[in-house]
């Protein structure tokens, strides 16, 4: 399968096929890269990434570090004269990269916190203190406070195979390795 088709098929079910199909009509004008805040500071080149995807350069796109330098700020998405849904295409390409094992350890770690605690950024003791000082409940009424709800998140992760995606070890409740 062409990489373009793979991207459309991956993102299509959630984001809509028409939405994803816009990938094909890029005319390489460079408006995206020109306005990309990340591009000014880092090596990400949005237009080149789209072109590489169109040219079926699957491995190059998936393995590149630049793919992960998009902050999903949607500037390119908003300005594209051909309405190419760049940011959503980027997210989708990352989904594929994830399945191919290109997730960074730091990302997998953040994801594991959600399975473990329900939060990407869990609470700590200092904040508990602050909360008390401000007159808030010491533990927020989230999965931190509702253990059943946390179970729900964990079942959900198993159902969508999110645990496998990030290599989560249910024994150690941590990443494998």
């Amino acid at each position: 399968m062409e990489f373009v088709d793979e991207i459309i098929e991956t993102g299509g079910p959630i984001l809509g096929s028409e939405h994803m199909e816009t990938l094909r009509v890029c005319m390489q004008c460079g408006k995206c890269t020109g306005g990309c805040p990340s591009g000014r500071l880092t090596a990400i080149r949005t237009r080149k990434m789209i072109l590489s995807a169109l040219l079926n350069m699957r491995d190059e796109v998936l393995s590149s570090d630049e793919l992960w330098l998009c902050t999903t700020c949607y500037t390119c998405y908003e300005r594209c004269p051909r309405n190419v849904k760049v940011t959503d295409i980027t997210r989708t390409i990352r989904n594929i990269a994830g399945r191919e094992g290109y997730l960074a350890k730091s990302h997998r770690m953040a994801a594991s916190y959600v399975i473990k605690t329900g939060h990407g950024v869990p609470i700590n003791d200092a904040v508990k203190e602050s909360r008390k000082k401000l007159g808030l409940s010491e533990i927020p009424p989230t999965t931190h406070a509702y253990k059943d709800a946390l179970k729900g998140i964990q079942t959900l992760a198993k159902k969508t195979k999110f645990d496998e995606l990030i290599d989560f070890d249910w024994e150690t409740m941590n990443l494998k390795e």
Partner: protein, 570 residues
């Protein structure tokens, strides 16, 4: 220099003034030198007339920016005072004073010597492609006689060879055939095929035309186009209409919908077995037919001689002459067309092509081959051809190698967008060379300029998007009609912006690709415009002509082509 002279310098609304003293010194007493804002404007012309009458000026010099545009507008002055101003073209960089003084030396008084003549209510149209047909139909519909002269045995031109047209994907036959039929049947249109204009003299309103009619060796009126003669002819040669992709006989009908629908014998390849004569029920074969010269008079002339395809051999690095997997776009068009030699089946070495690379700008935007201009249609026809091939080979992959995508017409950008959506890859970079790889497939060397990387593409079919060039005999035609030819070798218009259909000869107009490449829509709109220009004097009934409007007969034969169609498409 003894005449009282008025010198007027037009500043074209820019303001400013000239050192008039210098010029005045050179002029006799009573002369004047004046600056002016917009001399072409009606009030200033009235002032000019007033000056001439009050100061008894004997001649007038007008210095302005666009003298070529302005000649005709001082007529009112001429009518009032009996002579016309001498126009001197100045440019911004010129020293105006110097230029005027230099010009003063060889001034001749210009008398308006216009006479009004009646206009012959008929028009000669040279060339019967879609453009010539449309013009003839328009003029014919307005009720005037049209002589439509076509060199080939049939009308329809290049459009008859196309499968579909961009951007609407109308099938070319569906548009072309009715036009051809209507042209063939129109009571006001006299169709002269296998014919060439060989001499033109006279002037707007009354041109005398000589047409050389080559023998067809078949009586057009008797022949029904049944094709029995073709079936029985033993001599087989390559078909010009199908660009050599298919065969034809020595007696043949170029294509099924040809107008007039009559066979033609090709004496060069005919074996003179007379089989055709024997089998023809209508006894329409005429071995004894000879050239004839037809003479008539017309009021206006319209040149719609179209274009030829660029000869891709002139770009040897692309391998057109070397590899049969490299073809030009018109050949692909014949392969796609249901009326083509393969009935629309696209087979390259017996297999449908899966990897097709289009090479844009072959013979266009290329000073190297002397064609600096853009051919206007190749970006869109390549885009269209991707669609045509995809219909028949659904899993084929397409790459179009381009410099700039020029999708400028109505609906073009949308079409480009749509084909991208359907998976056509546009690769920015002009193909450098094409060679054969070890597996027999073509290799295309090109830089992907957006990746700044040279790449090699593999293709089982390479299509060269050949540009449009002026017909080879344009210089002779121009010579015969006293017309100018542009740097691009197409016929030159009187003014690129405001007189795009007129030529420098009054009464002779042009349209379509004869004046430069354009797509069908633009051509058809323009040809109606040219038809209007040709019809206006006829409708009005009278036209004013001056001595310079006479077409001088060029004494040399300009007949260039044999009766059969000689397509130099390379």
């Amino acid at each position: 220099m003894d005449k009282k002279t008025g010198v007027y310098i037009c500043h074209c609304g820019l303001g400013g003034s000239t050192e008039t003293e210098e010029i005045l010194k050179k002029l006799p007493k009573g002369s004047i030198v004046k600056d002016s804002q917009y001399l072409c404007d009606i009030t200033e012309q009235e002032l000019l007339i007033k000056d001439i009458n009050e100061k008894d000026l004997e001649q007038v010099v007008v210095a302005c920016f666009a003298s070529d545009v302005h000649r005709s507008i001082f007529k009112k002055v001429g009518d009032e005072v009996g002579f016309l101003p001498n126009l001197i073209k100045i440019e911004e960089s010129d020293d105006v004073v110097e230029k005027i003084i230099a010009a003063l030396d060889d001034l001749k008084p210009i008398k308006p010597e216009e006479t009004e003549v009646d206009v012959n209510p008929s028009v000669l149209v040279i060339g019967a492609g879609i453009v010539g047909e449309q013009a003839s139909l328009d003029i014919g519909d307005a009720g005037y006689k049209v002589y439509l002269v076509e060199r080939r045995p049939n009308i329809g031109g290049h459009m008859a060879q196309l499968d579909k047209t961009f951007p609407t994907l109308d099938c070319a036959s569906c548009i072309g055939t009715p036009k051809m039929v209507a042209t063939g049947q129109h009571p006001n249109i006299e169709l002269l095929t296998c014919s060439e204009v060989i001499e033109v003299s006279g002037h707007a309103g009354e041109f005398k035309v000589k047409v050389l009619r080559h023998p067809r060796y078949v009586d057009e009126n008797e022949c029904t186009g049944c094709g029995i003669c073709v079936d029985n002819c033993p001599a087989v040669v390559a078909s010009e209409f199908n660009l050599g992709v298919g065969p034809r006989k020595a007696i043949y009908i170029p294509f099924a919908q040809a107008i007039p629908l009559a066979a033609i014998r090709d004496p060069e390849h005919c074996l003179s077995c007379r089989m055709c004569e024997y089998v023809c029920d209508k006894k329409a074969i005429r071995f004894d037919q000879e050239e004839e010269i037809i003479e008539f008079e017309v009021g206006s002339i319209l040149v719609t001689t179209g274009f030829e395809l660029f000869n891709c051999d002139l770009r040897p690095e692309l391998g057109y002459d070397k590899y049969d997997r490299v073809i030009n776009a018109l050949e692909l068009e014949r392969l796609c067309a249901p009326t083509g030699p393969t009935a629309g089946e696209i087979l390259i070495h017996g297999k449908p092509p899966k990897n097709i690379v289009f090479v844009q700008c072959v013979g266009s935007r290329d000073k190297n081959v002397g064609n600096e201009y853009c051919s206007r249609v190749c970006c869109m026809y390549a885009t269209k051809q991707c669609n045509l091939v995809r219909e028949k080979v659904p899993d084929a992959k397409f790459t179009i190698c381009y410099t700039d995508i020029r999708a400028f017409g109505k609906g073009h950008e949308e079409f480009y967008n749509r084909m991208q959506d359907e998976g056509v890859i546009y690769l920015r970079g002009i193909v450098s060379e094409v060679y054969r790889g070890e597996n027999g497939m073509m290799k295309v060397r090109v830089e992907n300029t957006l990746m700044v990387e040279p790449v090699e593409l593999e293709a089982d079919l390479v299509v060269l998007s050949a540009g449009l060039v002026a017909p080879a005999d344009t210089p002779q035609l121009a010579n015969m009609l006293n017309l100018d030819v542009g740097d691009d070798k197409f016929l030159a218009e009187a003014h690129v912006n405001i007189r795009p259909m007129e030529t420098r000869v009054k009464g002779i107009y042009m349209a379509g690709c004869a004046q430069g490449p354009k797509d069908i829509s633009d051509s058809v709109a323009q040809t109606s415009g040219a038809a209007a220009k040709a019809t206006i004097p006829i409708s009005f009934g009278k036209v004013k002509i001056g001595p310079e409007d006479e077409v001088k007969v060029v004494k040399e034969t300009t007949a260039t082509a044999a009766p059969i169609e000689k397509e130099v498409t390379g």
